[in-house]
Structures are given as C-alpha cells and as structure tokens.
Symmetry: D2
Subunit: 271 residues, 4 copies
C-alpha cells in the first residue's frame, strides 16, 4: 500500500528528537537546509511516504503526507494568520463543506483561503476579497502550492463597494471594522445562513454585536478557543510551559430577513 514520492509532491518532513519540520515541494536538484544538515530532494523522490531520508550529517527525517493544519500555519505570510484551532471551528460553524460557495474578506496571506478552498472541493468555490494587491498575489501563490488555487476567485477590491456574489452559503470577515460592512453582507449572504467574524479585541466585539443587532442578524454567538499542547514524554506528561494566549474572538450570527412581529401581549424583548 505504499505510495512513492514524485517530483512536484508536497512532503512534510519531520525529524526526531525535537520535531524540526518543513513542508517542501519535491524538486529534482532541490535541497533543504536545516540545523540537522542538508537534505537532497533527489534522495526523497522515489522513496515511499512513511519512510526516512537522511541529511549529509546522517540525521533522519521521516517523509510524511502534508496536511492542511500544518500547511495553513506555515504559509509564507505578510499578515497575521488564522490558526488551526480557529479554522476548524469556523468550518463546522459555517457549514462549509464540499460544494459550498464561500466569500471571505480579507484574503491576507491566504492561509485560511487555502483551508476554505481545501474543504469546498472542486464542486465548490471560494471568493476572496482583498484591498492590497501584494497580499492577494501572495495568497494565490500559497493556494497554488497547496493545489487549490483553481477553486478561488481572488478579487482585489475594497468591500465598501460591495460584493459581486448573491445567495452565498457562508461569509467570513477578518477585517478591523466588520460592522461597517454588514449591509453589504446582507446583500450577499443567503437569508438563513451564517456569517463568521474574527476580531482580536473586545472593543471590536462590542461594536460588532451592536452592528449585528442593527442589521437583524440573530443567534449571535461569541467565543474564543484555547488550544493547549502537552509534552509527549509518557513518563512526564504535562502541558507545555507557554501557550498562545489569544488569537481572536470568533463571532457567528445568522442572516434574518428582518425583525419578528412581536406578540403585542408578550413582554419579551428579542435579543
């Protein structure tokens, strides 16, 4: 059942004992430098996944399948990126899956664009808006490397001008002022579907919640995810000494056509 590495394949190489690791594109004549020595791509090409290659210092790297978790957090970047702890939860919360039509803004370095494009499959589509051309171009290259750029429309535009799409399955905003675009979001996101937002500060959460209420988004949920890694020596199991303390707050809410007609006798204030 072994599968052999071919030129052009992405390979996730990982070395004991410290976990030095890289995602490389196997390229004839290529090489990977590391503090454990130099690894020649020609020594990798033709080897089965799951086997070992050795540096010129005799140090072993195992040849693993890359995965979107490791890939998305290692993309070349010019911007802050979304972390796997958050991306996975966004996927399930926005119901993104094969065949979905998803809009995101901003593109940034394209780490999350890669994740979205991975999960919508060839039957789906991602439309990714970004004001800065250099970010969009970087993101395209990052998606190309993962082999999913063909599923993405990269649009270089300020979303204050609106989105081109209508009736989309899910929409994700990673911008500093999401509350300014909620009217545009309502034009674009299919009624009944969910919007996702990531903002780093609580002040932004406050403004976002006010905006969502004003624009008749309901079922707002605000959350944050803490991911805690453990040391893996089975005789000394304990959490890592330091951890990421914060990336951002996740806000989800559903697009509703308008406010309810309230029961004239009821005292409940919809919230």
């Amino acid at each position: 059942m072994e599968e052999f590495i071919r030129a052009g394949d992405l390979v996730f190489i990982w070395a004991p004992p410290k976990g030095d690791s890289f995602i490389i594109k196997a390229t004839p004549g290529g090489r990977q430098d590391s503090r454990l020595g130099q690894l020649l791509h020609d020594d990798i090409i033709g080897m089965p996944f799951g086997s070992w290659a050795y540096t010129n210092m005799g140090k072993p790297f195992c040849l693993l399948r890359p995965n979107i978790q490791e890939y998305s957090r290692r993309v070349r970047r010019m911007t802050q990126i979304l972390y796997p702890k958050d991306t996975g939860f966004i996927l399930v919360s926005l119901n993104i899956g094969p065949g979905a039509l998803v809009v995101e803004c901003g593109t940034g370095s394209g780490g999350f664009t890669s994740v979205l494009a991975h999960f919508v499959g060839d039957a789906g589509r991602v439309v990714s808006y970004e004001k800065k051309e250099e970010y969009s171009l970087l993101a395209r290259r990052n998606c190309e490397k993962w082999g999913v750029a063909h599923r993405v429309d990269f649009k270089i535009r300020d979303i204050a001008e609106g989105f081109d799409e209508r009736g989309v399955d899910a929409l994700f905003l990673d911008v500093p002022n999401p509350w300014d675009y909620l009217g545009r979001v309502k034009e674009t996101l299919a009624p009944g579907n969910r919007l996702g937002i990531l903002v780093p500060t609580v002040n932004q959460v406050e403004k976002t919640l006010d905006g969502l209420k004003d624009h008749f988004f309901f079922d707002a949920q605000v959350s944050e995810i803490l991911l805690r890694y453990y040391k893996t020596n089975s005789r000394r199991i304990r959490p890592e000494d330091t951890m990421i303390g914060h990336t951002g707050y996740l806000v989800f809410a559903s697009n509703v056509l308008g406010p309810p007609d309230l029961d004239p006798d009821g005292g409940d204030d919809p919230d």
Copy 2:
C-alpha cells in the same frame, strides 16, 4: 435570492430572547412543541429561509439553515459525543476533505460520523466500525437525517479482528483502549498519514503515547481545546459563568514504516 422551505428540509429554528432552538425536519402535519408554544410545520413549509414563524402563543422563531456544528451536537445519542470544538480541529489535523477515505471506530451515536461524511463529500467515503448494533443503527439514522448516510459503510464488528481497508487517508479512534489496536491501524492507514485519537483521561494518554512509540508512530502531538462562550449583550460582555471544562485529550501521530537508521556517531535518541 430567497430560498423556500420544502417538505423534507431540515430547518434550524431559533427563538429570542433566550435562544430556544431545535433542528426539525419540515413534515406536512408535523408540529414542534416548546415552552414558547407550538409551531406547526405547515406554517413553515413554503416560507423563505431567514424569515419568521410564530407559535400558537405568538412567539417568533426564525427559520435558519441548519449547520453541521449545531447538528452534530444535537444528534439523538446513546453515548458521549464529540463536540464541535474538537471535531473541527480533528478535520484539519487529519487532512480530511472532499474525496478522502476515512476510517473511524467506534461509531457511537454517529455525531462525528455525520461530520466526517459531510466533509468527505460524495467523492469520499467513511467506514465506521462499532461493536454494538444498536449504536450503529442509531448512527445510521443520524447520518440519514443529515443526508450523508450514503457516504458511510457502517460495520458492526470488534476491530480486534482488524479493519478491512488498506491505504486509508486518515483514521480516527474513539475507543477506551486505543493502544490495543495500533498494530491493526498500521495495516490500514497509508504510510505517512495521520492517526487521530480521543481519550478522556491522562492515564489513557500515557498508555497511548507508549503504544505509539512501540508501533513507530512519530510526530505525536497531544492537545486539548477549551471553548469559551461569551454573553452577547454588547453593554455587558463577559464569558459565560460556566463552561465545559473537559471533553478529552486529542492525540495525533503519523504512521511511519519503521524506526530510522540512526547515525552511529549521533547521540540523539529519537523521541
């Protein structure tokens, strides 16, 4: 761009101000009871997603698209289920996406089976092993309700007898004693690919790590995810008073064909 609810559609209904909510299958003549009154399915069918329906007490429910996050944590259950905070991270960590062939054990109530089947799409396949027939049957019904049962092979069998599949893209174990099946996992999971495991106790983490080392799984990662919800009144933003304190520890590791040939001069002990 509105889409109208038809008989047979799943609908996620949500009511202010407390967020009472249900996922229902719109059925002519059906009704949903709640503490806010009775909602007739016939009042929902034909309405657009994103609009409101009213109970016999005049209370509004908005008619939302169901999503796999809300669905998976609301399935009818006989067993403990996986939570969305964990499922999303498993998806990205195991590189599960459209077209993947995934094996899981045990099926349990099928909440995670639904998630897997959702994300592999029609081009993918999930094989789900379970010893207890009643769990497997319940899981099938839960997958049917979400419309993805056709992507799943439900096998009622003890995996001590081994898995039928070979070269699978990802494998997930949610069993009390995963260390007992790691030899079987190695036969089944394609070399270079990742195994995921969920165990609730640290004692199980310890045995799992020892088993992974013995069976030449490398790049072991142990983590736990804490999801913290916030109250959504923008004038009084604060975390919820209580939260889920623990579901389980997530362990990921990669299937390697064997140990490396260590540099005879090197002192490093692969770990």
Copy 3:
C-alpha cells in the same frame, strides 16, 4: 498532638464518597442534617480533630479543621461572592498581610471581608464600606462566625461621600462603577500603594482603565484567573466536566502622585 473539639469550635465535616461537607459550629444539643443522615454535635464535641463521627444511618464524616478557603465560599450570602481563586491572588497582589490597614467597598456578604480580616491579623485593620445595611449586618455575622469581626469596621455609607481613612496600605473596590470613585481612592490610599478592582464585564474594564489613566494610576494590570479542578480517581485522572467559566476581571494599579515631567526631547508617551 491531637486536639479535641470543644463547644464553640468551627468544624469542617466531610464525608466519603461524594464529598458531602459542611462547616458547623459545635453546639451542645445541635445537629446537622444531611442526605447521609443526622449528625449530633454532642457526638463531635470531645472528639479529636482528624477523627470520624457517624450519622444515625452509620455514615462517617471526618472532623477537619475549617480553613478560610472553604469558609469564604460557603458564607451565607445575599450577593455574588469572591472566589478563592481570586481572593488569594488579590492578597499577594495588594501586599495584604499581618498588620495591614485595608479598605474595601462594597462589603457584600462579607466573604472577602472575612478573608481580609483573617490575613491582617490582630495587628491589622479592615474598614469595609457598604450602602445596604442588611448586607453589612450579614457580613458582620459571617466575620463573627470566623472569629475576626473585631478586626473590622463595618461602615454603612455610600463611598461617593468619601472614605474616612488616609494613608491606607491597600484598597479594594468591588462595585459596579469603580471609575466614579477614583478621586476618593486617591485621597485614601497611600501614594505608591496598590488599588485592586474586580469587575465582571469587559465594558467595565474599559471604563476602569480610562479612569485609572485620568487619575494617574500607573502600572495597571488586567487579568483573569481560571481554576480547573480534576477528578481524583488516580486511575482516571481528568479535569471535571464543567468548570466556572468566569467570575470577574481583576485590575490592579498603583497610586502615583501625578504625571511624570517628560523628557522634552523624548518621544515616549507614558502609558
């Protein structure tokens, strides 16, 4: 080295296997009802601490020394109380110890007042302000029960009128609008000493930080503490399923006489 329980002693009684527990004042003729049966105080008086007493159903309770952690979270209450996870950190952060003169507002149910009075000792003094007489009276009773009420001045007054004390060692505010009293705090807290504040929402943190800046408090620190309990079966160690997700944000800052004279050539903005 055994010490025998006398009438009037507080006793912390604790029963296996579920940890049913109470803090009782041993009183001739008294009795404690529980779901494990009835315990007669007369069966406790004269027994050594660390021994067992039995209910009329034959169930054992061990007779332990009460401690301020268990006491402070079990006080009779009319208000939200401070939790031990927070009180301990406040003590060390505000340098409260034997001999300290501490002012707090509001008194509330007196759980934290008991803690403060415990730690300042007979050489110290706690002044506790509260607008509502019924809270203050309850707090006094809770401090009396712990034997420290003689160290406390209970003042029933709105602190908008100011504090009577000057040059105090530490000051703690647990009120909804601490920013309104910072001028009063400056009159009272010795220069160079620390103020502590607990507020439940992030909106209050925002206003508090602005107020602290306006009133020349420096070295502001904002934090929150998460306490996570574990199950104690050594074969199945794992965190408890649910935990307290939030009590409040702790803010500390130091009272400085005024702003610095900034270096006319320096560009730094003190923060």
Copy 4:
C-alpha cells in the same frame, strides 16, 4: 500622608511606557542601570513614595511600594519558583495566616518561603527544609531582603529522616516524589489539617493520589490555575498573545487519623 523613602527601604520602580521595572534596596551611592538610563539611589532617598525619579537620560520611573507578588516572582533564583497565581491559592487553601506554624520542603530559592513568612507574621513561624545548602543560603538571603528571615528556620536536611516539628498548622511539599514522605507528613501535620503539594506532571499526580489514599488523607483536591493577562490599552483590550501554559498541579488533602469504620450494611466505598 506621604511617606519618604529612607536608605534601606525596598522600592519598586516602574517606568512607562513598557513597564520596565525593578525592586531595589535604596542604598546611598547605589545606582540602577536600565535600558532607559541610570538611576541614582541618592535621587530616590528622601523622595516620597508615589513620586517620580529620572534617569540620566531623563526617563521617569515611579517610586512604588514593593509588594510580595512582584517580589516573590523576582527573587534571585537557582531553581524553578512558585508563581503568584499559585501562592495565593495555596495560602487560602492551607489556612495560612498570622500566627500559623508552617512547614515546607524544599526551600528552593526561597520565593515561596518569603511569601509564607510574610503571611504568618511575627507571631507565626515557618520551618523550611532543603537538602542543598546553596539553595538554603540563597533562600535566606531572599527572605532577609524582604525582611522576614527572622520568622524562618532554615534546615538543611533530607526529609526522608523526618521533620522535627509536631502538630503543625499546615505543610507544603514541593519535591519530585511527595508520595515517599507522606508517613513523615502524618507525624508532623496536626490531625484534621491540610497538606499542600505542587507537582508539575500528571504522572506525579497519579502517584500522589495513590499515596494519599494509602496514608488516610481524605478530601483530596487536584487543581491547576491559569492566569491570563490582558493588554491595558482601553481602546484595544485583548488578552496577551502568549501566556504561561503550565506551572504545576496543586494537590490538597486533609490529614485524618485513620479510615472510618464503615457501616456494615452500607455499600459505599470511601473515596
């Protein structure tokens, strides 16, 4: 109400905008170097607490009262130290306060010894055991600097030989193998009183719990504390990007004279 700094006083100096800070002993002729320039102690002596002093680069430091929280985490150290998040909770959990007789082992660098000696006051006593003389000497110097060494007996000894004290109010173990000393603890800790233990790994928690059960300690509690700091710009409130992910697990349990006589008809297994 100002108080003036005298030679020999400890002063906590803190500088905007980044919070550069030091705890210094004001010494005629002394100076403090920092990246903001040099501060002469002679410019501090005679100034009031709460005022500002300036470096030779014209940068301001405010002159604050030191507190045990800042002190204990800044002691000169040769060993891992206890953090304020843990020390405060230990104090309230072990009922340490004015007049208490407390035993700890090991002394380490004396950060926690300083805290204990601070809180027991002149009426209390701390006995601190340590095998390594150099640690004990360092700890003594750290306690002297805080002015509390006269409340401490520093004993250089392996506690396998037992403790000298009997009937102590509280006992704290910060050693790698606490389970080996529980018999010795029972001789020393007054019946009915609490033992506290800090261990970094879950494997140690497991052995500790078994040992506690074998030695008839009851009411075992295992917990961990997470302290999360926030950025203090009121327009951009958010948790710090990184945080301490782990220091250790705290275990508390009460010393009971022996097992209960179980109800012959009862099926409960004390736990």
